[in-house]
C-alpha cells in the first residue's frame, strides 16, 4: 500500500503533525483536484440525497407537495409505523426473501458445477464458457419477455418440452405458487458471471494440494470438501454477498413480466410483488415519496443487517491464502 507509512500509533502528536504538513504539499492539492469529480458526485448525488431521503421519510411528502398545493409537514415516525401495519410490505418482504433464498444457492450451485466441469474439458471449455455466459448479456427486459413467452402455461416451449417426457407442466405465470420459481429459474439461467468468477478461483488453487491429497488416498469428494471449497471460499463468499444484495433489490424482471399494462391480462399477481417493485410503485406511480423513502431506509437496514451477519459468520468459513488469521 502506498499510503503514508509510519510506525507511530494513530493519534500520536508526531503523526498528527505529519498529517497536517501534508496540506502544505503541492501533491496533496493536486490529489484533491483529481478526486474532485467524485467528491462532488458524492455530495450531490449520494450524501445529500441520503440526508434528504431520511428527512422525507419523516414527512408526508407526496403528490400534493410536489405540485405545491400543500406544504410538507413533519409527521415523525408515522411512515415507519405505517410500514409495520401495511400488509403489502410484509407480503413484499416475504416474496423478496423467498426469491433470494432460492436464487442465491441455486445460482451458486449451478455456477460451481458448471465451472468444475468446464475446468476438466480443457480447451473446448472456452467455447462452452462463452455459451453459458450468453444469458448474462441478455438485457433484463428481454429476459423477462423470454420468460413470458417460454413459460406460458398453455403454449410455452417449457411446458411443451415437459409434455414430451410425460410431465404436465404447471401454469408458471398465473399460478401464484409457481411465479417465484419461474423468476428464480430465469435468474439462475444467467449464471455466467458467477461461473466465470469460480472458474478463475478454481484455477488459482495450488495443484500441489491435490497431488498431496491424492497420495494420501483422499476420495474425490473429500478433495472437493477439504481442498476445493476452502481454497475458493473467498470467491464463494464474494458471490454470496453480491447475489444476496442483488436478490433483495430484484426489480426489472418481475416488473416487466407482471406489472404495467398487464401481460397476463389480469391484475398484477401478488406473488410477483417484490419489495423494490412495491417501492417503485409507491414512489413513482402513487407518488407517496415520504412513505417510499421510509421503505428505502427499511431496505437499506435489511441489507446492512444481512451483510453484517454474512461477514461475521463468514469469518469462520472463509480462508484467505497468505492471510495471518
Amino acid at each position: 500500500m502506498a499510503t503514508v507509512t509510519s510506525n507511530e500509533a494513530p493519534g500520536s502528536p508526531r503523526r498528527a503533525r505529519r498529517w497536517l504538513t501534508g496540506f502544505r504539499e503541492r501533491e496533496t492539492w493536486v490529489a484533491y483536484a483529481f478526486i474532485l469529480p467524485w467528491a462532488f458526485g458524492f455530495l450531490a448525488l449520494t450524501l445529500g440525497p441520503m440526508i434528504a431521503s431520511f428527512y422525507f421519510s419523516l414527512t408526508d411528502y407526496g403528490v400534493q407537495q410536489i405540485a405545491g398545493f400543500e406544504s410538507t409537514s413533519y409527521i415523525g415516525a408515522e411512515n415507519y409505523s405505517n410500514l409495520l401495519d401495511d400488509p403489502r410490505i410484509s407480503l413484499a418482504l416475504k416474496n423478496t426473501f423467498t426469491f433470494t433464498v432460492m436464487m442465491v444457492p441455486g445460482t451458486m450451485i449451478v455456477a460451481l458445477a458448471l465451472a468444475m466441469i468446464l475446468l476438466r474439458v480443457g480447451r473446448s471449455g472456452d467455447f462452452f464458457r462463452t455459451i453459458f455466459y450468453l444469458p448474462q448479456i441478455t438485457p433484463p427486459v428481454a429476459a423477462a419477455i423470454l420468460l413470458l413467452l417460454l413459460f406460458n402455461g398453455q403454449v410455452g416451449a417449457i411446458n411443451r418440452g415437459l409434455d414430451l417426457i410425460g410431465i404436465q407442466g404447471p401454469f408458471w405465470l398465473t399460478d401464484p405458487s409457481w411465479i417465484k420459481p419461474s423468476l428464480v429459474i430465469l435468474s439462475v439461467w444467467s449464471v455466467g458471471g458467477t461461473m466465470v468468477i469460480y472458474l478463475a478461483a478454481l484455477r488459482g488453487v495450488p495443484q500441489q494440494l491435490y497431488e498431496a491429497a491424492a497420495m494420501d488416498g483422499a476420495s474425490p469428494f473429500r478433495r472437493f470438501r477439504n481442498i476445493t471449497l476452502p481454497m475458493i471460499s473467498p470467491a464463494l463468499f464474494f458471490t454470496f454477498i453480491v447475489l444476496t444484495i442483488a436478490g433483495l433489490q430484484a426489480f426489472t424482471e418481475a416488473y416487466v413480466a407482471f406489472f404495467g399494462a398487464g401481460q397476463t391480462g389480469a391484475e398484477a399477481p401478488d406473488a410477483a410483488l417484490f419489495y423494490a417493485v412495491y417501492l417503485f410503485r409507491q414512489a413513482f406511480e402513487f407518488f407517496e415519496m415520504g412513505y417510499a423513502s421510509a421503505m428505502a431506509w427499511l431496505l437499506f437496514a435489511i441489507i446492512m443487517v444481512v451483510t453484517i451477519v454474512n461477514v461475521v459468520v463468514s469469518r469462520r468459513f472463509v480462508f484467505y491464502q497468505g492471510a495471518q488469521k
Binding site: 483529481f34 467524485w38 449520494t46 440525497p49 488459482g204 416488473y255 399494462a261
Partner: protein
Amino acid sequence: MSAGAPSQLGPAGTGAGSVPLPQVVRTARWRRPKLGHFKRAIFIAVLLALTLLFVYPFLWLVSASFKPQGDVFDNRLIPREWVWNYDRVFEIAPVARWLFNTIWIASLGALLVTLSSALVAFAFAYFRFPGKNFLFALVLGTMMLPGAVTMIPTYLIWNELGLVNTQYPLWVPNLFGSAFYIFLLRQFFLGIPRDLFEAARIDGDNYFSMFWRMALPLAKPALIVTFIFEIQAKWFDLLSPLIYLRDQALFTLPLGLKTILDSFGAGGGGEGEYHIIIAATVILAAPMIIIFAVFQRAFLEGIATQGRKG
C-alpha cells in the same frame, strides 16, 4: 483472492495480471487432471446437453421473429412460413429513434464514467494525501448503498432543475465517477510500478499530463473493461428511463420494449401480437451479443477480476 493466475492474462489481459502485484502469492498454474477418453466424452456430452438449455431460448426467439403471428408458438426452429416482421416494428413505434438514443446515451455515459473514474482512481493509487484512507473507504461504502435510498431525492433534484423528461439524468451522473470502476481501476494502477510515473515526472510532465500521457495508455485494458461494463449497464437499465423519461421520442430501447410489450401483449387488449414483441426483443438483445462477441476477453476477464478483490 490474492492468488489469481497471472499467467492466464496475456498482454491484452486486464486486472492486476499484466504487471504482477507484489502481494500476489504466485502459485503453480492450474493443470488439467488427466481424464480418460471415456470420462471426457461424458463431460462433453453433459456440456452439449446444457448448451441446448442455454442457447435454445435465443434460437427460439430469432426463429419466432420470422414467423407470422399465428405460428409464433408452434415451437418449430425453422419457420413454416417466413415473414419479415422487422419493418413492422420500425413502423409501429419509433424504434430507430430508441436505438439511436440507447447507443448515444450508452457511449457518452461509458466514455464519461471511464475518464472520471480513471482520474479519481489514479489519485487514490498514486498520490499520498491526508484523508486518503478515509475517503477511499467512503468510495467503497457507497457501493453498499442500495440505489433505492437516493433514488427519490435524486429525482426531486432533477425535478427542481427542470430536467425531468430530458436525457440528462441518464448520463450526467457519469461525470462523477462510479465507486466500482474507481475500485477496479485503482487496483490496476497499483499494479503499475511507480517508477514509470516518476520517470514521466522527471521528463518534466506536470501531474495531469503524467496521468493523461502515462497512466491512461498503460491502463488501456482496464479502461476497456470499464467502458464495456458501462455500455452493458446502460443497455440493461430500465429503472432510470422509467423514472425520468415521459416522451416516447426520448426513450431508450429497454423502456421502449416495455412499452411495446404493454401495448401489443395480451394485456393490451386483443390476441397479443407476439411476433412484433419478439422482433423488438431481438433488436434489443442482438447488439449486446455482437459487442460480447467482439470484446469477449474484456467481459470475461473483467468479471473474473471482480472475484479476486476479496
